[in-house]
Amino acid sequence: MNINYGPILPFMEYLLKGTYVTLQIAAMAAIGGSTLGLFFGLSSRRRDPIGFLVRAVVDFFRGTPLVFQLMFFHLGLPQITGWVPTIMTSAGIVFSLNSACYLSEILRAGIESIDKGQSEAAIALGVKKMDITFSIIIPQAIRNVLPAIMNEFITLVKETSVVSMIGAADLMRRQSIISGTTFRYFEPLLVVGAVYYILNKVLSSLGKVIERKLRYD
């Protein structure tokens, strides 16, 4: 394999700017996914229409590939609803829903990992359910599953690469554009691989810092 970075150097800035697109989508999904995921996690066991709906959504998003969801939402829904979302909107919504479904399972596991005794102690003190959930259970649950949550975010960053399928100019797409323009294949691919690797290292270091912050033992 002869490696020659000459031809791709002029495109380096363009390539690296893909990081911004990747991060933007990942950030939207992380925020939307956490919020929704918490809601899903708290309500997926409910025996009312909301619980049913949440379970159906989780089931769909866990059962089909992300590429399919993205294509269906971005390309198919406009022809049904008439609403034509931008790439970023579609990516934001689909990725949020997708991570919400995975995060909800993680969070639910975290919630169930908290010894019921603490809830009982709080109930016995006369504390209201809302306060128990948000002041006793969730802070401990999140701390217990933080490694799993960080894993999910790392997966998220990597999975954003499928947005290239619907035309977003993220890192992966820019690699293929530059390869198509310069006929150099591996040079941009290696750069992209390195960028993802660094992003994920930064993310997991961040995760460890937060983990240390949340530590009480």
Binding site: M71, L75, P78, Q79, V84, I87, S164, M165, I166, G167, A169, R173, S176, I177, S179, G180, T181, F183, Y185
Partner: protein, 234 residues
């Protein structure tokens, strides 16, 4: 034709591009390029193994020793990172046809100014769009396959794409809201013929050229053209 085989040629293609390469109802690769490829390999005295993959991966795969050659409706043009054989088909039509919504009521190059164009990476049309992008203030939207770009024209996120006339005609037949017209520009590479793509510096190029010449002389290529282009287009 030789009877003894010299080995196997790995030939890359990207089906879903009628009439060049498609999958028939039995699930087999079929189309003009496929029949031609089989003839060329036989002529050269090789067995053939087809590899059907995403179009934008073909050039990289050729240069990564993952294929000996490729027939994928390539329009030969300089600087595409691969070597090309001599022409095997030239329909006289330019490969630069605009496919767009009929309701846009476009008819000439002026109409595409400031619009969003869909491109499929690695195609000659993508290179052509590149060459006029700044002059026409085009926004480029790169997609994986033509099928998806056509949906995006209908959705309105992409205004137009540039494709071969034969392909454009077939989409118009399926989607009545579409129309096509030729885009002319002096920047466009005027070489517009289909050729076999080979890795840079491939030792097979001469053999392939010889085989094409033989097949042309025997009229076999014309038979295939008649079969796939005249009949299909109707």
């Amino acid at each position: 034709t030789q009877t003894k085989s010299k080995g196997t040629l790995k030939v890359l293609t990207s089906s879903g591009y009628p009439p060049y390469e498609i999958v028939n109802e039995k699930g087999e690769l079929d189309g003009f390029d496929i029949e031609l490829g089989n003839l060329i390999a036989a002529e050269m005295g090789y067995e053939i193994e087809w590899v059907d993959m995403d179009f934008d991966g073909i050039i990289a795969a050729l240069n990564a020793d993952q294929g000996d050659m490729s027939l994928a409706g390539f329009n030969a043009a300089p600087d595409r990172g691969v070597d090309f054989s001599d022409a095997y088909y030239q329909d006289g039509e330019s490969p630069y046809w605009v496919l767009t919504l009929a309701s846009n009521d476009w008819s000439s190059a002026d109409d595409v100014k400031g619009t969003t164009v869909g491109i499929q990476i690695g195609t000659v049309q993508a290179a052509a769009v590149d060459s006029i992008a700044s002059e026409f203030e085009l926004t480029k939207d790169a997609r994986k396959d033509i099928g998806q770009m056509v949906q995006e024209i209908i959705n309105g996120r992409i205004d137009w794409i540039l494709i071969d006339k034969t392909v454009a005609d077939q989409y118009i037949a399926s989607y009545t809201q579409l129309t096509t017209f030729e885009l002319q520009n002096q920047n466009f590479s005027d070489i517009s013929y289909n050729a076999v793509a080979l890795p840079l510096g491939s030792e097979l190029t001469d053999e392939v050229n010889a085989a094409i010449a033989t097949l042309k002389a025997s009229g076999k290529i014309d038979e295939l053209i008649a079969k796939w282009f005249t009949e299909e287009a109707e």
